[in-house]
């Protein structure tokens, strides 16, 4: 088994543990490469099936290609697709840059709060109806007790402290200082009522591993990751007002892999193109602790 085989086997094991022990389980799908790899790993783990819903938090500022890619794959792979949103913040213009708030507040509104309430089931959720091809209000308001997330330890400092199974308390808080032990392949799969657990099957993967795996498995990704002829591409996908493309002429997965291995990005962090990371040094850690991703 090579490195990718080992990473894959571990992730599959974690996904199966999650599926075994969490009755009310979902996977967050941001449409980006990481959570798409995660989705693929779920199909590997469950022999072509994805036996839990995929939850997407729609900020309505996503680059349009992302949404059409999401719905196309959802149809093709027969996914149980759900989205949630912060309807109130959107209606009242509590967004950036058009609205009256800064970047981080916008993130808090459209991502953190939307995520929190979508998972808890107290804000409306919309589910893809495969017969009509339309999203419909989901009658189920059941909270999710297990949430699978595509976070990687190498993304930024706060994530390198994560566990594979990481509890969040009632207030969605993450106690970085007091985390449960993980021994061998035994994880925290028991949780008190009212709490939920974030599950991180991709924790050991690097950005390079993710692309190597996409290349090996031929996983379809959003074309925004590739240079379409303008000498730029997205390295990380988010909302259009806060995500800038990077200068790059990589037009295929193979070229991205080469670029990451030895080219210009070998020593530059992936989220360098994301503006909200820079606004305050520990901003993401704060958001994470508060429950956003």
């Amino acid at each position: 088994m090579d490195k990718l085989d080992q990473l894959e086997a571990k992730s599959v094991y974690i996904l199966r543990e999650a599926y075994r022990d969490f009755r009310s389980l979902c996977m967050l799908w941001s449409i980006g490469k990481d959570s798409t790899v995660l989705l693929w790993l779920a199909r590997r783990a469950f022999f072509g099936h994805v036996p839990f819903p995929l939850v997407h938090i729609d900020t309505h500022f996503k680059i349009p290609e992302m949404i059409s890619y999401r719905d196309n794959l959802a149809r093709e792979w027969q996914l149980d697709m759900i989205y949630g949103e912060n309807a109130q913040a959107l209606a009242e213009g509590e967004t950036f840059p058009a609205g009256k708030v800064d970047r981080l507040t916008c993130c808090r509104n459209l991502k953190r709060d939307a995520l929190k309430h979508t998972l808890a089931g107290d804000w409306p959720r919309y589910r893809l109806d495969h017969t009509s091809g339309q999203y419909q209000l989901d009658p189920s308001r059941e909270p999710y007790s297990g949430v699978i997330v595509g976070a990687r330890a190498d993304e930024e400092g706060s994530r390198s402290k994560e566990r594979y199974f990481s509890p969040r308390d009632q207030a969605n808080e993450w106690d970085v200082g007091d985390q449960p032990p993980e021994l061998w392949n035994q994880f925290k799969t028991d949780f008190a009522p009212g709490t939920h657990v974030r599950i991180h099957p991709l924790l050991d993967w690097t950005e390079l591993n993710v692309w190597e795996y996409i290349e090996r498995e031929r996983i379809p990704v959003v074309p925004l990751y590739f240079d379409q002829g303008k000498g730029q591409r997205y390295r990380s996908l988010g909302c259009w007002p806060c995500t800038q493309p990077v200068a790059s002429t990589a037009r295929s997965v193979a070229e991205i892999v080469a670029e990451l291995r030895s080219g210009k990005f070998a020593r530059v962090a992936e989220r360098a193109g994301r503006a909200q990371d820079k606004e305050d040094g520990g901003g993401l850690e704060t958001l994470r602790r508060e429950g956003y991703m």
């Binding site: 490195k3 085989d5 706060s158 950005e207």
Partner: protein
């Protein structure tokens, strides 16, 4: 080049030791010496220290790297990632302070090799010993001891030899044999990646490179903890797939397999994988799945083995070594959850043989509980038999964790399988019976009036509705013949006596326990109590039998499959293909045979 990169071997290394003995310095030095630092970083921090009139510390360098990582500037370096000619190494953070033992243990449990740092000047300290003990318990076998700060003792090899002697003796007591001792000066890079003229042994880097990666896991007996059984029906999928990760050994199409503890047998029909060409064989490390020739009713948690391999041990009583991290101590009389391979089962502390302080191995025999940071040898008793190996033979299926109050509170290794008994349950029943309060009417008087003996009849099988139908038909026939028979519907327990049973793995066990206690009371009233337990296994039946004592139990299984496919021993096996009255008649006849119904002599 590309393929070679992806195929490069990776090894997780943990650096442990008492606080201030030089772990950060060693890590910084390893990164610097192997060219893993971003360009100019070292010089920048050195310059910063000079300007601020502070002595340079490698710990600053690591902190600076972490800060940068927090801000998303560099990627690899702060994961403490370095490479030798041999392979890539990932250094796992493992804090030295005892308060962070949970983190140290989590890190070390993932490590394939460990560097244990001891300050030559300060000598062996509390956490040097505690960490040595933990490495042994966690099964980290590839350990190098680094005697650091040799400069502070003037490179006196006598000091080095004394520490080597003393610490080797200590590790021997916890069953760990280090690969070697290296005298180093982490600060100046002595014997880290280059050898000092006065030294002839391996350097730190050479020691690491000398560790073999996988120690022949494929050559060991086949073990696959059954994580789950999938039957996804979407898209007309008919497969019933046994899923799990191969811990050791190999398995090929057609191989005969046995699942433990149930002992059910079958053979491999297909190896399943999404988006892969057909596969004939799987080996250790692979997360896989397959279908079997016979449709066995396997449960998640069983241990699948090859029929031609040495079988695992199966028992309810395990002699183990454990270390405890829970806030509340481990004590007898309290229910815990054991997670061993894929099994999850209720467990109790049956016997405490000795408790040791992990930092000096001083034992306190009189202790009645295991406190946080203690290491103990004890006997655990599970509510149901589990399959496992001895840690000395197959470490991966010989280790476990204990969950207390939703948290992993302890971990340990199995030393010995004791005889398969359920002493905790037996002790409970005998205490209960000793205190049993009887009324004015004796059971035999009731039996005489009712013209039958009190009995618990339990019907089991896969089809719940069919079982219910059978149970009710039996109740009707007994009642019509003038007997006091009562059908106890499980759904009635659900909302009543079982309300508040927390929805966890223990749920089933707890419901079976309550059913058993209730049956003891109902049968004491002289009735023939009929109930059904759709998914029962042998251990459930044993629990009911024990709890219903001194009254007797009669077990009936009803299944379309061959009786041995269920793998259960019951008093009677019914074929649901036959008509209902005929099935009821079979039970009736058996009740007569067993002298529960008349023609028995009063």
């Amino acid at each position: 080049m590309a393929a070679e990169q992806a195929a490069r071997e990776q090894m997780n290394v943990v650096v442990v030791g008492h606080v201030d003995h030089g772990k950060s310095t060693l890590i910084g030095r390893l990164l610097a010496d192997t060219g893993a630092l971003p360009e100019g970083k070292l010089e920048q921090i050195q310059e910063f220290c000079r300007r601020n009139a502070r002595p340079f510390e490698y710990a600053f360098l690591l902190d600076a790297l972490k800060d940068e990582q927090a801000q998303g500037i560099t990627i690899d370096s702060a994961r403490c990632f370095f490479r030798s000619a041999q392979r890539d190494y990932i250094i796992i953070d493992a804090p030295g302070h005892v308060e962070f033992l949970k983190n140290m243990v989590s890190g070390a449990a993932r490590a394939e090799a460990a560097l244990l740092v001891i300050d030559a000047h300060e000598g062996i300290r509390e956490n040097s010993r505690r960490h040595g003990t933990m490495l042994s318990m966690l099964g980290v076998r590839q350990v190098v001891v680094l005697v650091n700060k040799m400069d502070l003792v003037g490179y006196d090899l006598g000091v080095f030899a004394a520490i080597e002697r003393e610490y080797t003796a200590f590790l021997e007591r916890v069953g760990l044999e280090p690969a070697g001792f290296v005298p180093i000066c982490a600060r100046d890079g002595v014997n880290i990646s280059t050898r000092a003229p006065w030294y002839e042994g391996l350097t730190v880097l050479e020691q690491l490179d000398a560790f073999p990666k996988e120690r022949g896991r494929a050559a060991q007996p086949f073990r696959l903890p059954v994580q789950d059984i999938y039957k996804f029906t979407a898209g007309g999928d008919e497969r019933r797939i046994i899923a799990g990760t191969v811990e050791t050994g190999t398995l090929a199409l057609g191989d005969a397999v046995v699942a433990y503890p149930s002992g059910k047998r079958s053979a491999i029909r297909s190896i399943e994988a999404f988006n892969r060409p057909p596969q004939r064989q799987v080996a250790a490390g692979e997360a896989t799945g397959f279908t079997l020739n016979e449709e066995l009713y396997l449960r998640p948690g069983e241990l699948l083995c090859r029929a031609d391999d040495a079988p695992p041990a199966v028992s309810t009583r395990l002699r183990v070594n454990i270390f405890w991290m829970g806030k509340a101590p481990l004590r007898a009389g309290r229910p815990y959850k054991l997670k061993l391979a894929a099994a999850r089962v209720a467990v109790q502390l049956a016997e405490l043989r000795s408790v040791m302080d992990a930092s000096d191995l001083s034992s306190s025999r009189g202790k009645t509980q295991v406190e946080r940071h203690d290491v103990a040898e004890c006997v655990l008793e599970t509510a149901k038999p589990v399959a496992f190996d001895l840690a000395s033979e197959l470490p991966v299926t010989g280790r476990f964790v204990i969950v207390d109050n939703f948290e992993i509170a302890g971990g340990g290794i199995v030393l010995q399988a004791l005889s398969d008994e359920r002493r905790v349950l037996e002790a409970h029943v005998s205490q209960r019976e000793a205190a049993w309060e009887s009324g004015a009417v004796a059971l035999h008087e009731r039996e005489a009036r009712q013209r039958h003996r009190a009995k618990l009849v339990v019907a089991i099988g896969p089809d719940e509705a069919a079982l219910r139908e059978l149970g009710c038909a039996l109740e009707r026939r007994l009642f019509d013949a003038g007997h006091a028979a009562y059908y106890l519907g499980l759904s009635n327990l659900e909302r009543g006596i079982d309300a508040g049973v927390f929805d966890g793995f223990e749920r089933r066990d707890e419901r079976v326990r309550r059913l058993g206690e209730l049956a003891r009371i109902l049968t004491a009233s002289g009735q023939i109590v009929i109930t059904v337990l759709p998914e029962a296994d042998q251990a459930d039946l044993e629990t009911l039998r024990a709890l219903n004592a001194p009254q007797q139990i009669l077990t009936v299984q009803q299944s379309a499959a061959r009786a041995d496919a269920l793998g259960l021993a019951t008093d009677l096996v019914l074929d649901p293909g036959t008509a209902l009255p005929a099935r009821v008649q079979s039970i009736w006849s058996l009740l007569e045979d067993r002298q529960v119904l008349p023609d028995f002599v009063i």
